[in-house]
Each structure stands twice: as C-alpha cells, then as structure tokens.
Subunit: 288 residues, 2 copies
C-alpha cells in the first residue's frame, strides 16, 4: 500500500527526499537541511496496556528521535497527537506526559503543541523536526560495494524491556558523521536483516552478514532473535574499508562490524561460523 502511494506522490523542488527514508529531507538554509518524521504507537501493537505509562511516553518521542539520528541530524521540535480512552486515569496520562517531557528535555527537543482526542485504544503519534548540516546528511541509499557494515550496540530480545528504555543514538550518529565518512545509515526498528534489506534496496547492493560478529544482547534468546527481532533502535551503517579501520579505533563509542556490502547481484547472505553462506530470509518484524 505504501509503495502504491509513493508512486503517485509528486513533490516540488523544496523536497530533497520524500517518503522512503527514515526522515523526509527538506530545504532549509544554505548550510542545513530540515528533517521531518513521525511515528505512531498503538496500544496492543507497539506497547501493552499494562506497561509503565512513563516509559510508553518516553518511547513515543524516542522512536522519532531515533529516525532523526538515522539521518545524522539533531532533533528540535515535536508535536504530540494523543488519543486516549474516555476513562483514562489522570495518573496514567500524567505519567505518559512526564515520560515525553523528560526525554524531550534530555535531547533538547521542544514540545511545541499537539492534539488530544478520544479513542478506544491509546494512540500516540509524535511528529518531530530536526536539522542536519548538508554535508553530514546520511540516507539509506549510499552504501557501496566493499563497505563494512556496523551496528551501534547489541541486538535481540528488545521486547523484554529495551523497546521501552532504549536511548536514541543521536550522539553516536553525530560523532560518526563528524569524524568519519558514513555512506548509508538506518535505525534498526524492524530487525537487523529487515533494515539492512532497506539499505540494500535503496543502494541497489547485496551484503554478507557474519553470524559470529553479531553482538547479542543479554535479552536475546539466540542468534535469530538478534537477526530478526525489531525495536532495538541501534544504528546500522556502512562505511568504506579505510573509514572502517578508523571507526574500529574509536575509543569514545563502541561500534560492531557485522558484515560487508557486496554488489547488487549478491543478495543478502548470512555466513555461519563454518564459513558457509546461505541466503537470508527477510521476514523480520513488520508493523503492518
């Protein structure tokens, strides 16, 4: 459905990149692009009704901040649309709001308004604006054959807790683009392989992923949960071999090399510990 829509949409010259990346990229000033993104959380899909409302509120803003990070930008202003059931306790909505407010403060995001509606299930949609220096913008489509693929942290089992507590990797992304040449980047919301698939599709490339190189989180049950689980919100990016060497030497943040970009005809392949290659199945976590 999204694909169908995308084909029919025409945008004017003030849109550098419309639908199809982590953020829309808009003309802003001589030095900067503006980034624009939104994410909707639905009770029963993205969180459960019994989960801590403070953390749900926090997550609602963090998910969009992670999109800004994926384009290497700085989050700035957000609007929050909220649908709440009629009898929502004030204690619940207060906690929800405190979670939003605290993460906004942590990342210097201005909450500049919103819309409050009645709905049967809790719905939170956050739209977020950010800025990125033109020279620092990173999109999904820039991966080159030979690039090393990195992730910014351990993966898997996010639904056990991390999906509500993750830190959007804004600082890490800014560090990367200020110090290295990053060719392609995305945040891992759908799962490592699924999101790598997005980079490969936009870049028209293939990839090898080395199973033994995947950093497993303590919550990950097994390798598959690190490959296919969503909502880790780590950065997934690629850089040339030469840049990769420098990235590996970085002492401020720890980035994990997990594979390399190949020519488009290669597809996405997993390499197991014996060195055997197999084509990856892109199932992953789908929001719809």
């Amino acid at each position: 459905m999204i694909e169908r829509m995308r084909k029919e949409i025409h945008t004017n010259a003030s849109v550098v990149k419309g639908s199809g990346d982590d953020c829309a990229v808009l003309k802003f000033s001589r030095k900067y692009y503006q980034l624009f993104t939104c994410d909707m959380l639905v009770e029963g899909v993205d969180f459960r009704s019994g989960e801590n409302p403070y953390l749900v509120g926090r997550k609602s803003v963090a998910v969009s901040a992670s999109d800004i990070a994926a384009c290497a930008g700085i989050p700035q202003h957000c609007l929050i649309s909220c649908g709440l059931p009629k009898n929502t306790p004030l204690k619940y909505s207060d906690a929800l709001f405190r979670g939003m407010r605290d993460i906004a403060k942590e990342f210097g995001i201005n909450i500049v308004g919103g819309d409050l509606s009645r709905s049967e299930k809790i719905i939170i949609d956050v739209s977020l604006l950010g800025l990125v220096e033109k020279k620092f913008l990173v999109l999904r489509g820039g991966a080159k054959a030979g690039d090393i693929i990195f992730v910014s942290g351990s993966l898997g089992g996010s639904l056990k807790g991390k999906h509500l507590k993750f830190t959007p990797r804004v600082k890490e992304a800014r560090f990367l683009v200020k110090n290295f040449k990053i060719n392609a980047m995305i945040d891992i919301s759908d799962g490592l392989l699924q999101d790598l698939g997005h980079i490969l599709k936009e870049s028209r490339k293939g990839a090898l992923v080395y199973e033994t190189r995947i950093p497993l989180s303590s919550a990950a049950r097994n390798l598959n949960s690190a490959l296919y689980n969503g909502e880790d919100f780590e950065l997934l990016f690629s850089a040339s071999c030469k840049e990769a060497e420098k990235i590996l030497g970085s002492k401020i943040f720890n980035f994990f090399p997990v594979g390399k970009i190949t020519s488009g005809s290669g597809g996405l392949k997993l390499v197991d510990k014996t060195g055997r290659e197999k084509t990856a199945i892109l199932k992953g976590y789908r929001h719809f």
Copy 2:
C-alpha cells in the same frame, strides 16, 4: 490536562510560540516563520465508519491546512500517520489516500512521508508545516477593544456534510493579511462562541456578538447551531474599525461582521434582535 502540560513545558529561543495557538510558530529565516501543526481524526469521533473514505482522507489534510490558514500561512509539507484495522479493504484505503492526495495537490502541499500501523479503529494524524512572512503572522492574542469581529462564511450544521467538504480558507487568510491589518485570527473548529472565547482568553478581552448578524448556513437548524456547532472551519478574525470598513468594501471575498471586541471585564455577550445583552455560555463542541 492540556493546561497542566502546557505549564510544565519549557521551550528554547527558536520557538516563537509553542502550544496554545492554531500552530506552533518557529524561527525559520530573516523573512519567514515556520508554522507546525497536527490534527488527529478518530473513527467514531471525527467521522463515522460509513462515511465516504475519499472525503475522510480529504478532511484529514484539510483540518491541518485550516490551522495554517488561521495563522495566515502557506501550507507546505505534511506527514500522514495512519492506523487501519487489519481487514481494511484496499478499495477503502485507496480512496482514503486519493482524498489526501487530491487536497494536497489543490493546496500545493507535499506529502513527504508517514507511518502506517495496525489499529482497531481508523486513526489519521496529519502533521503539516507551513511558512508565513513575519509581518503577516496573526495569532489569537492580538484582538483590541473596539475591533470588529468577522467570519469568512456561513455557520452551523456542519455535521450534515460541510465537515467533510469544507475548503480550508488559505486564500482568504492570505488575501486578508496582504491587504489589511488583522489583529487576531482563529479557525472555527469548536464553534463560533467557543473559538471566539479562545481569542478573548489569549487577548484578555471581551466581546459583543450580534445574533442578527450571524450568517446561517442552509444546514443550520437555528441560530444556536450557528453559535455552538463545530467544524465549520471558517476564519474568525478581528480588525480595527478603520480596517473593517475597508474589509467590508472588499469585492473579492465576502466577510461577515458579527460583533465587536470589548474590554476584558465585559466578558462574552450575545445581543439579541431587541438589543438585549446576555452572557454567552461557552459549551460548544469539545473534542475531549
């Protein structure tokens, strides 16, 4: 709840006006401010499941465009978050999208992305960016005692159809600020008196509304439906007596004078056809 939140939110110097007007107003360039607004439509609250999906899609974008108009701006870019039930027919979602696309085209709005989720009821949240010349920005808080109050069209009975088919008054608002000095403006989403109440509160003023001057729409059952019904999405604005004379002489659009701004102590009063004043009860349409 919104009031509670508003008090706790601190924004930095890049925010000219945060929560509390039709749009957030953000610093943009030497000449322009950026406007930022969002509106959430919920099935069963803002539209019924049986209503024409093309018109529902149209409305979802039109409501936000009306907010941009209320600040005298030009709409530019939007993101659309959509929650749809699992078994939504493709025919329905296609029609929804065509409605969005067509009104976006009509108003030169770029659809630059969005988010698609699963939800039990249909939810559409549109966030929209716009631009306004600094000199043309109009907010709710600028009404002055002695100002004449105008509306841009007939009022009442919108739920019979207009709420799905209204035209956001972007052209009218631009015409007004380019040709006259407008002191305060809002779009009528909650009802004439309710929204006039918002202007009065922000401007710390009172008002007299002349019942005989209210332009009744053909769908309005009676005067009360024109005073209290929401979703007309006409402009409600005030300008000095001197400007009002010029506005009345305008031949391109028809604006209807409905009352005047008084000092704050006067409150909001209705004047009936015999000249008797009575204090207005602000019930109106409430979204929550």
